[in-house]
Subunit: 218 residues, 2 copies
DNA sequence: CGCGTCATTGATGTGCATCAAGTGGTGTGG
DNA sequence: CCACACCACTTGATGCACATCAATGACGCG
């Protein structure tokens, strides 16, 4: 995500090892000691937080090129779970090594700062979504975001395969799975998308954008 | 906020100047060039993001000792507004100076990383709140969080003055101002708090905690 | 082939939004 | 110093978006 080849070379120096994670298992868990950030090479993750009473919330979906584990820095402990939604491989980047190297390599330092800032801005966007959007807007925004990120990785602008369940989408969007399902159906009726299982084809990108940007109420 | 005196000394070196902000005016705005982070010396801020169609969302409230502006790093532009809710003073910390100094001073580097990570974790918590909590839980969590931060600054554990309107609280919590008001009234009826205008006295901290941690539905 | 998981769809319920009216505190200008 | 206007807030009545409950259908895997 925004890595030039030159930067990638730099990053290589902070990679201690690689690690494979099977679909369904966790890369790290809430409460575990924080040691490293992880750059996703292949595969797809979700991160989720939980409250005491068992409620949980998907806080993000991450794909190749993205970095996870930033939550662990502040208290040297992870505060969320990272679960592989498909078989995955990550680069393990010990954080003390990152700090060490980024003192020497300005580009790396800058890169680390930008990654963290990007995550903050992303979460701001999610807060806007959760705090003020209606179900259709949330799902439209979600689909547009996913397809845009996939497109940046060389995939289609209009077709995607969801790696997560309706329930996980719902958790991320602050909706119940039934509402997610119904909203998909609504979009299909309206001819905006085609859905076959987890395969989604976007027919009306503009229509989706309009849904996101059109406030209904006050 | 977690600053030891020694660390504060360090931080002094990155402060270029001070700036006063009148109540109601902005420290920075969405779209403005990013140059500096700001450490709040006195006063109280809100940060908010807006979508094209004019909806906006308060993404946080910040008080003395906290740092704002992190959103600007990733694209060299601020992506939210920071508005003073009371007359305030901040330390201006040019970001290139921060980067420069944090290459030399490990403690500063670490400190910057922790501040950013803390913000990410905080936002994770807000996402959990917005995505899965009910009105009473949201407000209870909000009050507990505020009073805890104030207590850490030497204020009362049980009394606080809200610097923001009901509408701003509502925006932050994903509720309408009427709902915020009603929920306050409910807490008063239940003898959990006393409210006189923006003065709030917490009578039942435990009761509030229970509200937050008690899931009702499924 | 049968079972478990995930998804769809319908019927009903409810928490919060919306709409609306009124109160109280504050500041301002006559 | 008071009258008025304005704003933040409270409270009530009603409506609606989404949750909940429930039944059924479609894959995919051992």
């Amino acid at each position: 995500m925004g890595l030039t080849p030159a930067e990638l070379d730099r990053i290589e120096d902070v990679v201690a090892s690689r690690r494979k994670i099977k679909r369904g298992s966790t890369l790290f868990r809430n409460g575990e000691k924080f040691t490293s950030l992880y750059a996703i090479r292949t595969g797809f993750f979700k991160t989720c937080v939980a409250s005491e009473d068992g409620r949980d919330q998907v806080t993000g979906f991450q794909m190749a090129g993205e970095v996870i584990g930033l939550d662990g820095i502040v208290n040297d402990n992870h505060t969320c779970d990272a679960v592989a939604l498909e078989d995955a491989e990550v680069c393990v980047m010990p954080f003390d090594r990152i700090e060490e190297l980024s003192r020497e390599v300005n580009a790396l330092q800058r890169h680390v700062h930008k990654i963290m800032s990007r995550e903050i801005v992303r979460e701001n966007g999610v807060m806007l979504l959760l705090g003020s959007m209606r179900a259709e807007e949330r799902l439209a925004a979600f689909l547009l975001n996913l397809v845009q990120r996939l497109h940046a990785r060389g995939f289609s602008q209009s077709e995607l395969v969801l790696r997560m369940t309706r329930e996980e989408i719902g958790s991320y969007l602050g909706l119940k799975l039934e509402t997610v399902s119904r909203t998909f159906s609504k979009f299909v009726e309206d001819g905006i998308i085609e859905v076959k299982q987890r395969h989604v084809r976007i027919l009306g990108t503009d229509a989706l954008r309009e849904i996101v940007n059109t406030k209904v109420g006050t």
